[in-house]
């Protein structure tokens, strides 16, 4: 049996680990709530933009704009969102696996893929597998409008003039604290179906897309300066909704996955500390018994 002192040190270190995991759990819980609130704040924008689009195009189908035209895919751009840090269960590997499966489904070789990695884990993964990682950034909690606009502008440019036939975004979709699912969405060519799915995903109030005040144009609806120009201005804004919500969803997922992982680590640490305490008590008892029997043995030896 291990020495008493060793067991005591072990117990102390387990308890300290538990303190750390407990703290991380609390931090993740707070961050998760923040990400959810931000997602809610973006709802008005998503609703307004999709409403305008529906009324301008006057139908459920988008046609006649370059950014909505499907082509056969020879080159694809993937925007992959993971976390920077680990300790969050299977969160990142699930996204990366889903992306990989999707690439294989398209039947493209690494040279036909361009990756934009948000989050260190995604960058590491794709660099290691020989893909072109064109841009990699950290996945921080502060998402700025500027960052989103840059990303969308790049995607628009790639899709419209530099030979990219499809732009997809991969992220972890947040359903609840215990459930996140890897999700892939097609940004370009833009489709109303995908857009609706994104707007619906905005947590936690569901079905908000239903109240977009009808698709028909009101009487005397004027479009200035022209339908094309309004579409030209609206479509990238819709794409930025995709990106923004993907970022928020992945953050909410990251924090909740980490919260759950840290909670089970804390529970495990508590259990371990308990078992170790029992071992310690047993060892101490054994030591005392041994000492007593040594003393009585010595006394007996002297008395004879």
């Amino acid at each position: 049996m291990a020495g008493l002192k060793q067991i005591k040190t072990k117990i102390r270190s387990v308890q300290k680990s538990r303190q750390v995991t407990k703290a991380m759990e609390a931090v993740s819980a707070a961050k998760m709530r923040k990400a959810q609130q931000r997602a809610l704040a973006g709802r008005a924008y998503a609703r307004a933009a999709s409403g305008i689009l529906a009324r301008v195009s006057g139908a459920r189908e988008l046609k006649g704009h370059m950014l909505t035209e499907a082509r056969s895919v020879k080159h694809a751009l993937y925007i992959v969102i993971t976390s920077d840090k680990g300790l969050a269960g299977a969160l990142n590997s699930a996204v990366l696996r889903a992306t990989h499966a999707d690439i294989e489904k398209l039947g493209l070789s690494p040279s036909q893929i361009t990756v934009v990695a948000i989050g260190r884990k995604a960058a590491d993964y794709f660099v290691a597998r020989g893909y072109t990682v064109e841009r990699s950034t950290h996945n921080t909690d502060t998402v700025t409008g500027k960052f989103i606009n840059e990303l969308v502008a790049m995607a628009v440019q790639r899709f419209s003039s530099e030979g990219v036939d499809v732009v997809k975004i991969a992220y972890q979709n947040f359903f609840s604290t215990f459930e996140q699912r890897p999700t892939l969405r097609t940004i370009f060519p833009l489709s109303l179906g995908e857009l609706e799915a994104v707007v619906k995903d905005i947590v936690p109030v569901r079905g908000v897309f239903a109240d977009t005040a009808g698709v028909e144009r009101p009487a005397g609806y004027t479009i200035e300066p022209s339908e094309e120009e309004v579409l030209e201005a609206t479509l990238p804004r819709l794409a930025s909704i995709f990106v923004y919500h993907a970022l928020l969803e992945s953050q909410a997922s990251e924090h909740s996955a980490r919260m759950v992982a840290m909670k089970s680590a804390s529970d495990k640490a508590a259990e371990l500390a308990h078992t170790l305490t029992i071992t310690f008590n047993k060892a101490r008892q054994a030591a005392i018994t041994r000492e007593v029997s040594e003393i009585t043995g010595g006394m007996e030896a002297m008395s004879t």
């Binding site: 933009a49 200035e224 300066p225 120009e229 609206t234």
Partner: protein, 76 residues
């Protein structure tokens, strides 16, 4: 009239307003209640909202304005 001015990551204005002045693609334009429905692109300039709380200004680089029977929405 209900006015919403929204960016992707935040709502700049959401509430009742008396009038809304925007730099529309073909010149400055002021929207009053009962304005006819219109959708237009915006160019760089300043949006001015006049409400019961006074006047608020927002500088913008671009955007889209939609006026409906029940209000106006600007997305930046």
């Amino acid at each position: 009239m209900k006015v919403v001015i929204a960016k992707v990551d935040q709502n700049l204005f959401d509430g009742e307003a008396k009038s809304l002045t925007v730099p529309a693609a073909d010149g400055e334009m002021t929207v009053l209640p009962e304005h006819m429905p219109v959708v237009t692109t915006l160019k760089a300039g300043t949006i001015t909202v006049r409400s019961a709380q006074g006047e608020q200004q927002f500088p913008i680089e671009s955007g889209v304005l939609e006026v409906r029977r029940d209000g106006a929405t600007v997305i930046l």
